[in-house]
Amino acid sequence: MSWQEEQRNRILARAAYTEKKIRKQNKRLVRIIIGMVILGGAVVLIDNLTRDKGALVPIDFKDQAGTVTNWKRIGFVKSIDESTAEVVVDEAEWKEMLVGERHAVVMLLASYCAAKNQKPDYRLTIKGNVSQKLLVSVDDKRVIVK
């Protein structure tokens, strides 16, 4: 074998080795990026699953009558008796609500019924439409929100 051939073979072997090395590096890079995609996807998924739903019903204290009418229209308020301040609401939606939102609903309904009766009497009872269970009770002594 001539010197030139030997040199050529050496160069080819070196090229094959480098190519193999690069391929190996690329494979590792692809694996790392796939891992990042899986991890990122999992983060996005978990974030979406654990995210609070937020407000379920619209609340506008400036237009209380309009808000109550809207609640009736969307089916959240099933029935309301302003004179006795007895309200029946969608129980499933009530259970899904955040505690803060429940308090806000109570405030608005109590205020709305008081305005309708034209007296500062904030008695209010809210019941669930399915079980008829008492969900809210506002009387002379205390406010109970379940």
Binding site: G40, G54, P58, L98, G100, E101, V138, K141, R142
Partner: protein
């Protein structure tokens, strides 16, 4: 373009998209938290005013043990996003406030409810959006 390069390009785009989404989401959450904190500070200040009014004797222009007659001070009257309600026997105070940043539902602004039950000076905040 080789198959591997194409794969790298697609995967890279996905990683960048996820990174952008996470960044935007973090910014959003931080903004919401900051807005809720501001509301809570304001509501606490209002509550302090209300509690002071409640504890002041009627002869000195206070409520004499009741929130009855409490009016929001002029500092907060110009704040259009706070609603308060004096509950049964004028012993409980509840407040509701809207923020300026879009809340968790992605439509309405952040909302915070404040509840001060009767009998003590304890109070609690509850996130409503």
């Amino acid at each position: 373009m080789g198959q591997q390069q194409l794969l790298l390009l697609i995967l890279g785009s996905i990683v960048v998209s996820i990174a952008v989404y996470t960044g935007v989401r973090l910014f959003e959450v931080h903004n919401q938290e900051q807005n809720r904190d501001r509301i809570q500070t304001e509501l606490t200040q209002i509550y302090m005013t209300a509690a002071e009014y409640k504890m002041t004797p009627t002869s000195l222009g206070g409520g004499g043990g009741s929130y009855n007659g409490f009016v929001l001070s002029s500092t907060f009257v110009i704040e259009p996003d706070v609603w308060y309600w004096v509950g049964p026997s004028n012993q409980t105070l509840q407040m509701f406030a809207y923020g300026t940043v879009t809340g968790n539902d992605g439509i309405n602004p952040v909302r915070v409810t404040f509840v001060a039950p009767s009998g003590n000076l304890q109070y609690q905040f509850a996130v409503a959006n």
